[in-house]
């Protein structure tokens, strides 16, 4: 891969526009609400695109293509089962309480609904998670720059960190959201030609199907294993992912997906920036429409690469092998960029990748500075300062957040399986949290002590389950089994799903139990926070396609159709 002047010009143009946006927005950042919540003035479609883009970081772009090669079409379950239903639920049922309570963050909602200690616990675990996620994006970016352009790790880490720092520092969340919208279009325009040329290489859709049949047969599965979703989930042995339909539906479809999309402040913050309650509710629903089509953009390249490698294609594209002889799936995207794109398009593809990693980082940093300022600093350090003071604290937190991400990037560089650790953190933190929210929003009897005890117990249950089980072929340690190995799972994915199911179940039961034994909050304090005590939302706009319930139903219907098409 040899970038020429044209590629550098394309990258340079993008960075100039990014920094220009930050500079143009600096004038409108007057209050802390402007900085942290975009002044609550975003139209729904912008918030919606930012909502999916914030999640479209390194893990997504490189990871989904890698999974597409490794597991095939079943990877799309992360979208059609693991995202869409939760996004619809968030928009239709949960957003009225988030937006309506005027909470500025997810931990702040927990404080309004439950108590201070529940909020503190969530604020701290969330802050730690964002720093690691942001560090991983930065690490991935540095690796990419080193691989493709030959820059050394230190240079690429500091340069990328500096650019992200400047635009968040100047423009706050608005800048981050604008860049997320830019990145969304860059990913679409940078990846679509990759799929088109790739399909031509393997002989069109027919050729891809034939190639994937060969792949499946060569690994000892039914011919359709790389092309089906539910159809091969009768038992864990029928599909390369090692998953059966129950753990797929319950672990990914219910606990992990709702835990992430409905309670992770990184995404919820985008909806809170919307200009009205209606716009906030439409945000995740609008986001769901492109999200449904993303498998064709990010998973299909992986499927094309594995078909070309095993079955052969016109261009002779072959995935490289690791030192241990196994295929290096993480190379799918860089390999295809280098093989298919001439100079010019190469610059665009690289820009799209860099933009994705940088916004993945910026999204986490903006969520971090908000939670730090409102839920840790304002709650525990200085309670009654002026708004200008909190705006300054937010800017300082941005610098600190980026410094911590740089540190996390170096930690990631030392421990090559921190990705697994992060997945685990999600199962530990987000999965029990969803039980807390479900009970908090829909059961007025749930009490603060109950929520706190449930969260702790749920996280402990995740830890114990992880300590007692192990994915097949792994050594006890960071992958699990550090207490004793009582059960072997066919894959790390299956283990993750079950960790989440146990964490959720225990948190749910403990919260209910402790709540029944403790005093609930008086009902008058819970108006606007709990479903049964809040007057029904009347949607302002009359046009049917703008009503959240109608839009939600259409989105769900489309997701069902996709599930059936690729059954």
């Amino acid at each position: 891969m040899h970038p020429k002047a044209i590629d550098w010009i394309i990258m340079g143009t993008y960075f100039a526009v990014v920094l220009g946006i930050g500079a143009a927005l600096k004038r409108s950042m007057r209050t802390s609400t402007d900085f942290f919540l975009s002044g609550r003035a975003m139209p729904a479609w912008i918030a919606g695109l930012a909502f999916i883009s914030a999640n479209l970081g390194a893990q997504e772009v490189i990871g989904m293509a890698a999974s597409g090669a490794k597991y095939g079409m079943a990877t799309s379950q992360f979208y059609w089962v693991g995202a869409i239903p939760a996004m619809v639920f968030l928009g239709v049922f949960m957003m009225p309480f988030y937006y309506g309570s005027r909470a500025r963050s997810v931990p702040e909602y927990l404080k309004l609904r439950f108590d201070e200690k529940t909020r503190g616990l969530n604020a701290i675990t969330f802050a730690v998670m964002t720093v690691f996620s942001s560090g991983i994006s930065l690490y991935a970016l540095a690796l990419l720059l080193r691989l493709l352009l030959g820059w050394d790790f230190n240079t690429s880490v500091s340069l990328s960190a500096l650019i992200v720092l400047v635009y968040i520092f100047l423009g706050g969340l608005t800048s981050a959201i604008y860049n997320e919208v830019l990145q969304f279009f860059l990913i679409v325009f940078g990846f679509a030609p990759l799929v088109l040329i790739g399909l031509k290489d393997v002989g069109g859709w027919q050729g891809l199907v034939a190639g994937l049949h060969t792949v499946a047969r060569s690994r000892g599965f039914a011919p359709d294993a790389w092309l089906s979703t539910w159809g091969v989930m009768g038992s864990p042995h029928e599909n390369p992912m090692g998953i059966d339909w129950f753990s797929m539906a319950m672990g990914l479809g219910f606990v992990l997906s709702f835990g992430y999309w409905c309670t992770d402040f990184l995404v919820v913050q985008r909806a809170l920036s919307a200009e009205s309650m209606d716009a906030a509710r439409r945000t995740p629903l609008i986001a769901a429409i492109p999200k449904m089509l993303f498998p064709f953009l990010v998973i299909l390249p992986g499927m094309i690469a594995i078909a070309a490698t095993v079955h052969g294609g016109a261009s002779g594209l072959t995935l490289p092998r690791q030192a241990d002889g196994r295929l290096n799936y993480n190379m799918v995207v860089p390999l295809m960029l280098g093989r298919y794109f001439p100079n010019g398009m190469l610059g665009l593809g690289l820009t799209a990748l860099m933009a994705s990693f940088m916004t993945g980082m910026a999204g986490n940093v903006t969520a971090f500075n908000t939670v730090w300022t409102y839920d840790i600093y304002q709650a525990y350090v200085r309670r009654d300062a002026s708004d200008a003071h909190y705006l300054t604290v937010g800017r300082v937190a941005t610098v600190v957040g980026i410094a911590l991400s740089v540190a996390a990037a170096y930690v990631t560089n030392r421990f090559n399986n921190i990705m697994d650790l992060l997945q685990l953190l999600f199962a530990f933190v987000n999965a029990p949290l969803f039980a807390t929210f479900l009970l908090g929003m829909f059961w007025k009897r749930a009490s603060g002590h109950g929520a706190f005890a449930g969260l702790l117990a749920g996280t402990a249950a995740a830890a114990v389950h992880h300590g007692l089980t192990l994915p097949a072929g792994a050594a006890p340690g960071i992958k699990g089994g550090w207490i004793a190995v009582m059960h072997l799972y066919p894959s790390p994915m299956a283990q993750n799903f079950w960790t989440a199911i146990y964490a959720f179940g225990v948190c749910f039961l403990v919260t209910v139990g402790v709540s029944l034994a403790t005093r609930p909050r008086p009902e008058r304090d819970l108006v606007g926070l709990v479903y049964s005590l809040t007057p029904r939302q009347r949607t302002g706009s009359a046009r049917w396609y703008r009503r959240p319930a109608v839009l939600g139903a259409c989105v769900l219907g489309a997701a069902v159709v996709l599930n059936l098409l690729f059954w």
Partner: protein
């Protein structure tokens, strides 16, 4: 908000589109070899430029409408 997002999106993609298409036009067949005979720079650059121009047009119309109100 102070800045219509369609302006930076439109500006970026029109500019990138024109750059790519121009490069594809002068590169010719030698350039297209890599992408299996398709001059992807030229065609995709044109698509991007049209998208960018459409964004700018929408932003401009919204502005004109806001002013006439």
């Amino acid at each position: 908000m102070g800045l219509d997002i369609r302006i930076p999106v439109g500006a970026l993609f029109s500019l990138l589109g024109l750059l790519l298409a121009g490069y594809g036009l002068q590169g010719g067949a030698a350039l297209a070899q890599r992408s299996l005979g398709i001059n992807i720079d030229l065609w995709w650059g044109a698509v991007m430029a049209v998208f960018g121009a459409a964004m700018l047009l929408l932003a401009w119309r919204a502005r004109a409408r806001a002013r006439s109100r």
